[in-house]
Structure formats: structure tokens, C-alpha cells
Subunit: 118 residues, 2 copies
């Protein structure tokens, strides 16, 4: 595996669950896929349609999101919004993220500063 490919895979693994959490958080208000790509981009999260749409569908099948077609504007859009379970899950994931972040920060500041191993 080439270096760049390996590095990309490792980075992807590092941020793997953050997209799910981001989407759940952003779906607190109804939103549609194409718009979500833009908002995520604005937030610093690069995601492509071919990743986002299967994710939306998966989260819906898992009961965390619900969808409805809106035919109002010039073109139809499928709006997604978070379910109660999805909202609760987002809160829980947020707490878990903070916990992980705390652990990693301590680990990184301890070891990258050359701290002694016990």
C-alpha cells in the first residue's frame, strides 16, 4: 500500500464516526442532502455525495433520522430531520466524544513531550 494511500486510510479511520455525529447534530432542523454537503464543507468537514447519501439512508433505517419529500420549490427535495432517538443518540455521542478527546489529549501531551513511561 502506497504511503499516501495508507496515510489517507489512517486519517479516515481517525475521523470515521465524526461525520455521523455531525449529521445528527445538523439534522436538528430539517435539512436535505445537497445542502448538508455545503454546510458540512463550511464547517470544515469534506464529504462527497456518494458518502453522505448512503449515510443518510443508513441513519434513517436505524431510526435516528426520518425523511419526507418536499415538493414545494422548483425541484423536489428530500428533507431529513432527527428523531427523538436520534437526538438522544447525538447527545450521547457528543459526551463520548468529549471523553475520548480528554483521554487523547492527555495521552498526546504526555507522550509527545517525551514523558517517562511508568
Amino acid at each position: 500500500m502506497g504511503d499516501k494511500r495508507l496515510t489517507n486510510n489512517l486519517i479516515q479511520e481517525l475521523k470515521r464516526g465524526t461525520l455521523t455525529l455531525s449529521v445528527l447534530l445538523m439534522s436538528g432542523q430539517p435539512t436535505y442532502g445537497y445542502s448538508l454537503v455545503t454546510e458540512l464543507q463550511d464547517a470544515g468537514i469534506d464529504v462527497e455525495q456518494n458518502t453522505l447519501y448512503p449515510l443518510l439512508r443508513r441513519l434513517e433505517s436505524q431510526g435516528l433520522l426520518q425523511s419526507s419529500w418536499d415538493m414545494g420549490d422548483s425541484r423536489p427535495r428530500k428533507y431529513y430531520s432527527v428523531t427523538d432517538i436520534g437526538r438522544k443518540t447525538a447527545v450521547l455521542l457528543g459526551e463520548e466524544w468529549r471523553r475520548i478527546n480528554k483521554v487523547m489529549s492527555e495521552l498526546m501531551s504526555g507522550l509527545m513531550n517525551g514523558e517517562e513511561r511508568k
Copy 2:
């Protein structure tokens, strides 16, 4: 899929790459698998042998770790230590982690406080 199972999967995805980074950081000094399980546990990262050993082997096959058998003590141990590439990769992953964390923190503080959508 049961709720608990789904939640566990989501959490696991959230922390998926952090184990790799943790192991790379802790392998700055030679360490063996069984001891690593303990140290990770102490650091707040629960991992089982059946997860860690395949990870160590994979990282070695990818050139990020190297290993050597030590027959010195009462029982043989396979020590792993980070390669140059592995060290560089850990630095890079650490920076990426900080970037991801920044993005997620802003996103979470913005949205979980009920901030308006643009």
C-alpha cells in the same frame, strides 16, 4: 439492530482511529502486547487482546511498527517499537486529530447551544 448494539457500534466508529494513534504513540518505547493492554486501560482506553494483537500485526505489516522477540525474562515477549515512518505518521495523525477536534468542538458548541442555522 438493538438499541444497545447500535449505540455501541456508533461509539466504536467514533473512536475507531484513536486506538491506532494511541498505540503508535505508546510504541515510542519498546512495548509488548500484554503490557500495552494494561497501559491503554490505565489511559482510559479499553481494548481487548483480540483487537490489539491483530492491530499490532497490521501496523507492522504496514511498516509503522517493528518487532523483535525478547527471550530474556521468565517468558518470551514480542516487543514492538515504532519505525521512523510510524513516528512521522503518529505526528501527522496527532495534528489531524487536533484539527478534527477543533471542527467538532465548534460544531457541537454552536449547534448544541441552539444556534441559528444560516
